[in-house]
Structure formats: C-alpha cells, structure tokens
C-alpha cells in the first residue's frame, strides 16, 4: 500500500509518487524525493534512520538496531543484499523500493566504510540474482 517510490518518482509522472493509498491511521503516502544514486546518499537518507549516522546501531528495550560498523556478517556481500531485499525481523523489505543499483551501491558503501574494509564489490546483477520470487506489496 504505502509504496516507497525512490525509482518511480522521477521516472513516471511525479504525482504518482503520492498516489499510493494509505492504510490505517496513516496518510501513508510516499512523498516526492530526490533520486538517491550514490551508496552514501542511500545510507544517509534511508539506513541511518535506524542504524545511526555512525553505523553503530542503537540499543532499545532489550532489543537493538544492529551495528553495521565492524559487523562480521558483512563479510559476504550476499548477506546484506539478502537482508535489504527481504527485510529481517523488524526491518522492512526494500525489494521494489530501492533498485538494484541503489542496493549494490549502499552495500558497497557500508562494506568499505565505518571500519569495514571489504574489497569485493557487489554489482547490480548480483542483487538481481537474489530477488525474491514475489516482490512483497504492503497491504
């Protein structure tokens, strides 16, 4: 229902970005956003809302937003690609929200910043290969 139209926003008629329906006590209309092309852009405008600007995550009520800084799970680029596409626990899925290039860029950004020094970059094709069979649509 609420569609996060990073990619559609400028590609189609601009107002379609705000034409998605709302659910519940929301006016859950996605808004007009600038295209986010670089990995850093995506990180700053999307990821850091939970994982924090320094990528150290945060501790809540006996639960956390995991740190990406120094996180050994980033060793394989395929893992963060999977989590971004499918979501994980409280984290929403971004398949159909971020495009393959945006996902590859942000994975590469995170894996080469915040104390991470992985040199094997993932490509948009790598992301495409991991697409879920059905892109989830929020109700």
């Amino acid at each position: 229902m609420r569609r996060f139209l990073f990619t559609y926003t400028l590609a189609v008629l601009p107002w379609l970005a705000c034409a998605a329906p709302a659910k519940a006590d929301t006016a859950g209309f996605s808004s007009h956003v600038q295209p986010l092309s670089s990995g850093e852009d995506v990180y700053r405008h999307v990821c850091q809302s939970c994982h924090m600007p320094d990528a150290r995550g945060a501790m809540g009520a006996g639960a956390q937003f995991p740190a990406l800084a120094g996180n050994p799970k980033l060793q394989s680029g395929a893992y963060p690609v999977y989590v971004i596409l499918n979501g994980f626990g409280g984290m929403p899925w971004f398949a159909g929200v971020l495009d393959d290039t945006q996902i590859a860029n942000v994975v590469n950004y995170v894996r080469t910043h915040f104390g991470n020094h992985y040199t094997d970059a993932v490509t948009p094709a790598d992301v495409a290969a991991q697409h879920p069979a059905v892109i989830p649509q929020e109700e």
Partner: protein, 534 residues
C-alpha cells in the same frame, strides 16, 4: 484496506470507477460491501468469560491499550493479573506531548517540548473512525470524553510542486473543478451517444441528470464560470449585503491542469471508510484514552520492567526481566498464562520459548517508519487569516500534510498544528536527521503552503521519529499478502500458554481498534485454554 488507488495512469475504466466512488454510487457501495471492504470492525460486545478457576494467574506484558484491556477484562472475569511495562508510563503508543515533556530517542537526541499550557500534539494515533466500535465502547465505559476530529475541510490547501505553478489551491476549488469537468465529459459522451454500447437508454437519462447535478453543469451540459460553479468552488468576490453586495464569480482552472495535477487523489482519500466522517478525538489529547484505561488497572501494572525472556512449560510461564527501577536487577515473574503485547521488532529479539510457527510469524512482520512534527505558532493564523478550522492540507513535499487542530477554535494565543506526517522515504529521511534539521525542513516545506505566516509566527516544535523509539523500534506492523497467508494465523494462535495481542495481531493494523480487537480475541482464546476447551 484494499488498494483503492491505481498505481499507473488510470485507464478509462478506472477513471469511471473513481467517478463512481466520488459520486457515491450505490452500486459501487454494494459491490464493496459484498467484498467486505466497506464494513466496520467486527466488535459487538466484550466477551463474557465465566467460570474462571480461582487463583489462575495471567501475566500481561506491555501496558499499552491491548495490555491494559486484557488486564481489565481478565481481572473482571476473576483471573489474578499482573502487568509488566518497560516504560515509566503506561499507554504505549497512545501518547500525547505537552509543554515540559521530554522526548529522548535512540541515538541520544533529546527534545524538551516547549508548548504553551493546554496545547499538545499526538505523535501516535490521533483520530478515531466512528466504526471503531470496540475502542469507542471502552472510551464510553471508562469515561473518556470525545469530540469531533475534523478530517475533511473544503477550505484547506492542496499542493503539488508540479501543478498550478507550484501554488497551493483550495480543496473546494480542485474538488468542484474535478467533479465538474468529469461530469461534463461523461454527460456529453452520453448525449453524443458515445456510451450507448455500455449504458441503456433509461440509465443514460438518469446518468446524464446525475452528472448535471453533481458537476453543477449548465443547460448545455458545460462546466464553467458562473453561479453554479462558484457556489461550489468559491467566488472572486464573495456575496455581500447592501447595494454593492453582488458577488463576482471565480474562473475554474483549466481542465487539463486539474486532471494533470494528481491532486484528485486527495478527494478520494477522505472517502475511504477509515477516514469518513464522523471521526473523533479525545478531549485534551489522545493519551486521555490511555489514562482512562490506566485508571482501571493501574494497581496491576509494574513500570520500568525490561523483559528479556519468556519461557513456558506444562506447569506455567516464567518471564525474566530487569527491574530498571532498582538498578536493573534480574527478576522473574510466574503465571499460568501470558498475554504478550510487546511490539514485534522488540519481541523478535528476545529469548522467547514458543513453537516454530509462532517464532517465524514474530520474525515476519516488520514495522513501518513514521515521523510526526508538532509545531506551535504564536497565533492561529490558519483560522484568523485563512478561515481554516481543522482539517488537513496536503502537499507532495516530504512533510506530506499539515493538519490544523480540531479543538480550541477561535481561541487567541498560540496553537499547535501537525506540521508533517510521514511514511516511507520521507520518514526514513527525517528520522535520520537531527531534531533541529527536521524542524528546519518542516518549516521550509510548510512555508510553501503558508508563505506569509509560517516563519513569522513559528514559536517552537517537536519531532517524533517512531523508528527511534526504544520500546517499539518502529511505528506499527507492516503486513504483506504473503506474510498474511503464511503467518497471520500462527501469530494470533495461542502457543501453549502464551498468546500475542496488539495491533499487529489484527486486520485493523496501525489503528488502536486493532489493539482492542486483538486483545479481546487473545483473552477469549486464553480463557478457553484455561477452561480446557481451547
């Protein structure tokens, strides 16, 4: 809860469908009802839980509406109830912010609310549909006073950066012109026999007359400048008294600009059942509901308990928690059964001993990100200068909307409006900013709708980023069709001695009614289990 909006450029058929909705077509309404889309929630009356075995203990985790209602009904039925709450307050996401309150979010940013006495913002739920009869029932039972919430106001602004030169237009102007031009097209198509294949002769007559009335068309079936259209969209010079009282008619926008603007999406928005009049809000702030519930069960609630583990076996449930009021000392609570209302992003990370199906369901439901902005202005300029009394202005900028207070009309002195209500990318973006940055962006965008007053009259503001709330890690549940099919029943089914409640365990997600209905369903299951019949 269905997708009532086209995702692509509307086809002719979709456009006709939309017209049907706007026109309030009885046939469409019946079709929707038949599909179950236009019904209220299924609340009828609280469950009657009789024959409770004395001494049966229930532990409720979380003192939001679902937890407090579970506690209330279970105690009434004869259960021995204890409630553990993480925060130093009850109410959960039912919350209001007033002057002097402090908001501390994950990441450490702290804001002190600077509103004048009597002013407030509801960072969570803020409106109640008339058909949320479960919540309304308990408001009445617990003495929570309600007043109208103004959802639809024809005098608010609609704004698109891409339409009408980026200038906001009044809802009534856009509404009158969209209806008028649409009616004209349809009426003329009928008149010119373009729809003879689809519409019988008799129906054509009715439809043409309906379009003429609905769209304020003249005898020639045209929509244009004149008394008919100005009576809907407003005048250049309003009707007055005395010798010079004659009005001057306003000129409708160009049809292509109206159609191209996309702003018609906001006409349909208010017509969804969730947003239909009459809507309500508690007098004095949404948290009056939480306080009303708290009055019933406050003696059962222990605050500052950080649950870390939920274990169960054939004999009972054991919950481990840190007593944060006493230096975080580890304690254990025991009971025969447990109602767990902990938000799923938190629960999914705790040590919870449940079966694989429930475990998978808990992991399968992420929470949406949402940000709200509460802005206080020195005077109610929207009323004094623009005659806007409640309601919502919409914009395609990130803030998405500005909602004007539904209470305190015509009062002097400072007023608080909702200066932004965001989901999706805008919410991620705003949540990632510092509170000062959020305020600056909200002012810069709000200024587009109220250029003369927004900066000048601004006094102070607060932002609330739900993805940075330590006890929920998000706003509310985000279901998709696959997850519903695979996990919903498992999420709601009692797992040995543990049952979940909260808006996430309902089809009324993200509404307080979902919390109410899920709690009633949960305690009904629990009672059956305790009676040995479930």
């Amino acid at each position: 809860m269905t997708n009532a909006h086209p995702r692509t450029v509307p086809t002719r058929r979709q456009l006709l469908t939309r017209i049907g909705i706007l026109a309030g077509s009885g046939a469409l309404y019946q079709a929707m009802t038949a599909m179950g889309h236009a019904q209220g929630t299924d609340f009828t009356a609280p469950p009657v839980l009789s024959g409770v075995k004395p001494g049966t203990r229930v532990l409720v985790l979380g003192a939001g509406l679902a937890g407090m209602l579970s506690a209330y009904e279970l105690r009434k039925a004869g259960y021995h109830v204890q409630v553990l709450e993480f925060q130093n307050r009850s109410g959960g996401r039912n919350i209001s912010l007033r002057g002097g309150d402090t908001v501390t979010e994950l990441g450490g940013a702290t804001q002190k609310v600077g509103f004048a006495p009597g002013n407030y913002i509801n960072p969570g739920p803020w409106r109640i549909p008339y058909h949320h009869q479960g919540l309304l029932h308990y408001c009445r039972e617990f003495g929570v006073a309600l007043e109208p919430f103004i959802e639809l106001n024809h005098n608010t602004w609609l704004h698109s950066s891409e339409a009408f030169g980026g200038r906001p237009v009044r809802y009534r102007e856009l509404s009158a012109d969209f209806n008028g031009f649409t009616a004209e097209l349809l009426a003329k198509a009928i008149d010119q026999h373009r729809l003879d294949d689809a519409v019988s002769a008799e129906e054509r007559e009715y439809l043409r007359t309906a379009m003429q009335e609905w769209g304020r068309l003249d005898a020639g079936l045209s929509y244009g400048k004149g008394a008919l259209s100005s009576g809907m969209r407003g005048y250049d010079r309003a009707p007055g008294g005395g010798p010079d009282g004659a009005p001057t008619f306003s000129t409708p926008f160009a049809r292509k600009d109206v159609m191209r603007s996309g702003l018609w999406t906001w006409l349909a928005f208010h017509q969804r059942m969730d947003m239909q009049t009459t809507m309500f809000q508690p007098v004095g702030g949404m948290d009056m509901i939480g306080k009303g519930f708290n009055r019933q069960v406050h003696d059962l609630i222990t605050l500052n308990c950080k649950v870390t583990a939920i274990h169960q076996d054939d004999r009972g449930v054991r919950v481990t928690y840190n007593d944060m009021g006493h230096g975080g000392v580890v304690r254990e609570a025991q009971a025969d059964y447990c109602v767990c209302t902990i938000p799923l992003p938190v629960l999914s990370q705790l040590d919870v001993q449940v079966g694989a199906a429930l475990r998978a369901a808990i992991m399968a439901v992420p929470y949406v990100s949402s940000v709200k902005m509460g802005l206080e202005f020195r005077r109610r300029f929207w009323e004094e200068d623009e005659q806007i009394y409640g309601g919502i202005s919409f914009t395609d900028q990130q803030i998405n909307q500005i909602s004007y207070p539904s209470n305190g009309f015509f009062s002097r002195g400072p007023g608080v409006l909702l200066g932004g209500y965001m989901f999706g990318p805008a919410a991620y973006d705003f949540a990632g900013m510092t509170p000062a940055e959020r305020l600056e962006h909200a002012l810069a965008q709000g200024e587009v709708l109220h250029p003369k007053q927004y900066r000048k009259e601004f006094s102070n503001g607060v932002s609330f980023a739900w993805s940075r709330v330590p006890w929920s890690l998000g706003c509310c549940s985000m279901w998709n069709e696959q997850a519903r099919k695979t996990h919903y029943k498992a999420l709601c089914a009692m797992d040995n001695r543990v049952v979940l409640a909260g808006e996430h365990a309902s089809y009324v997600g993200c509404w307080q009614e979902g919390a109410i209905l899920s709690a009633l369903a949960a305690i009904t299951q629990l009672h059956k289990r305790a009676q040995g019949v479930g």
